[in-house]
Each structure stands twice: as structure tokens, then as C-alpha cells.
């Protein structure tokens, strides 16, 4: 399998990634936006998960919580992802070699799959839940998995800069 390293080297050498890497304003802006958006996005996801597992907001109909929060979650997820990609492009080789960064990506994919699975399984039945504030087994499972995965994502992200496990 051909190595991706030269491609990353090329990416790192581009004029715009170099400019971003050296900038006194652009990079801080992007990193700060990344953190702010993630905190809002993950915070809202965790709120929804707490509802799914029945620990909080128990009087809100499930369909309501999901439907009303979704645009805000997407609204903060998209810039999180965009800024994340930009940050990666600034120093791709360093992140590629960082075990905690790779772990974060794995957890992100798993969290996405978990969300997709839950959505597919319950989408058709969600209308029937409007009147029913009981949390079903599926919701509890998906919510619990999501809570665990997002905690792992946040913790691994924060540990990335320490360059451990080289």
C-alpha cells in the first residue's frame, strides 16, 4: 500500500497551509473556534444523551429534544469539523504520527456510526414517542454508547499535544 507520507508532505508545503501555520491571527482564530464549537456541539450531544438514558430532562418528549436540538448540533458540528480539518492540514505529519489523534478519529467514526444506527432504527417510530416519555432500551443503549464515546473523544483530544506513546 503506497505511503501517504509524501502526500502529507505536499499538503504541509502548500502556500495556504504554510501561511496558516505561521500566522499570528489566523491560526489562533481557527484553534479557538474549534474548541468553542466542539464544547457547544459535544455539550448539546451530551445533554441529549442524558435524556436518552433517562438521567435528565425526563419530561421532554424524546422526539422534541432530538428535533429541536439537531439544527444547533449540526450548526456547531460543521464548523468544528471544518476547523479541525484546517488544523490537521497545517501539520499533517505530526498528527498522523500521534496515537491519541488516531484514537480520537476512531472514536469519532464510532460515535457517528452509533448516531446513524440509532437514527435509522428509531426514525419511523419516533412519532409514536411524542406522547411517550419513557426511554426505551434502544435509546438507553445508544445514549450510553454516545456518552462513553464523546467522553473518550474529548479526553483523547485534550491529550494530543503531549506527544505521548511515540
Amino acid at each position: 500500500m503506497p505511503s501517504i507520507v509524501p502526500a502529507f508532505g505536499w499538503l504541509e508545503g502548500l502556500a495556504w497551509t504554510t501561511a496558516l501555520r505561521e500566522s499570528p491571527f489566523g491560526y489562533p482564530l481557527i484553534e479557538t473556534s474549534h474548541v468553542a464549537c466542539i464544547v457547544v456541539f459535544a455539550g448539546l450531544v451530551i445533554m441529549m444523551d442524558l435524556r436518552l438514558v433517562g438521567l435528565a430532562f425526563t419530561q421532554a418528549p424524546l422526539a422534541q429534544i432530538q428535533r429541536r436540538l439537531f439544527p444547533w448540533q449540526m450548526g456547531s458540528f460543521v464548523p468544528s469539523m471544518a476547523t479541525g480539518i484546517l488544523l490537521f492540514c497545517v501539520d499533517p505529519l505530526r498528527y498522523y504520527r500521534n496515537v491519541l489523534f488516531l484514537a480520537k478519529l476512531v472514536f469519532l467514526v464510532l460515535a457517528g456510526l452509533n448516531a446513524l444506527a440509532f437514527h435509522l432504527k428509531t426514525y419511523r417510530r419516533v412519532e409514536g414517542w411524542d406522547e411517550d416519555t419513557q426511554v426505551t432500551a434502544i435509546a438507553r443503549l445508544a445514549g450510553g454508547a454516545s456518552l462513553l464515546l464523546w467522553s473518550l473523544i474529548i479526553v483523547s483530544s485534550r491529550l494530543i499535544p503531549n506527544n505521548w506513546f511515540k
Binding site: R21, E22, S23, P24, Y27, E31, P161, N162, K166
Partner: protein, 137 residues
């Protein structure tokens, strides 16, 4: 109940304020405070980069061998604040760096001060480093 909330939030807030303020990584996670180094050598490369700059410095060991150092600095915004410019670095120039050696990597160091050949002195340490008097007041 309200007083309880208020008190907790008051203290919480105080530390909420502080935490994100922290440099994005812990000094002690990678660098050894008990191993201060003074490195006099030749700059082979300087990466003027976010979130950290990197000075690649070659020093001569007592036995004549060349040691390659990779020295971490603060971000460009901080370096500029302390008067340093990217143009101050040319490959092959001599420089003196004071800092602390890496915990697991002996060729790694966290740079705190830089002295150029023309005698100019700069603080290059990233936020979160030791308070050893090197930082400008």
C-alpha cells in the same frame, strides 16, 4: 439552595476562567525541570509555526561529536510580542538557547530564552512553563 448554587458557581467560575487559559499542554508532561540546559550552537533550521515554533540547533559535545537539538518555542504571536521576527533567523547562524531538556527524548528541549549573535536577548518560552525568572515582568 440558591446560596449553594451561587457559592459553587462562584468558585467554579474562578477555575473555569483559569483552565482554558492554560497552555494547551502541560510542561511537565514532556520536559524535565531538573534538567536545565544552555545550548550554544548553529541554527540549522527555524520553524516559525503555530502552535509552537521549533529551533533546530546543532551543538558540539566535549568529545567533538555533533548533537542535534529540537527546541520548542512559543507561538508566532507570542514571539512577535517579545520582539522576535522570522527574519531574525538564518540557517547557519549561531545562537544561544537556555531551556529544559525533554523527559524521554534527550534531543528535545523547551526553550525559554534566546540570545542572538548581535547580543539581543529574547524570551521564547511558551505559556505554562516554569517561573524561573527568565520570563519578562
Amino acid at each position: 439552595m440558591k446560596t449553594k448554587i451561587f457559592l459553587v458557581m462562584l468558585v467554579v467560575g474562578a477555575f473555569c476562567a483559569v483552565q482554558p487559559a492554560q497552555a494547551h499542554h502541560a510542561f511537565a508532561a514532556e520536559y524535565d525541570l531538573t534538567k536545565p540546559v544552555t545550548l550554544n550552537g548553529i541554527v540549522t533550521r527555524m520553524e516559525w509555526a503555530n502552535p509552537h515554533g521549533w529551533i533546530y540547533l546543532d551543538t558540539k559535545e566535549p568529545n567533538g561529536a555533533v548533537k542535534h537539538w529540537m527546541i520548542e518555542t512559543a507561538a508566532p504571536s507570542q514571539l512577535s510580542r517579545h520582539g522576535l521576527k522570522k527574519a531574525d533567523f538564518t540557517d547557519g547562524m549561531t545562537a544561544l538557547v537556555k531551556g529544559y531538556q525533554g523527559k524521554t527524548d534527550p534531543g528535545l528541549a523547551n526553550g525559554r530564552t534566546l540570545v542572538l549573535k548581535d547580543g539581543r536577548n529574547f524570551y521564547i518560552g511558551s505559556v505554562g512553563g516554569p517561573n524561573d525568572g527568565a520570563e519578562p515582568q
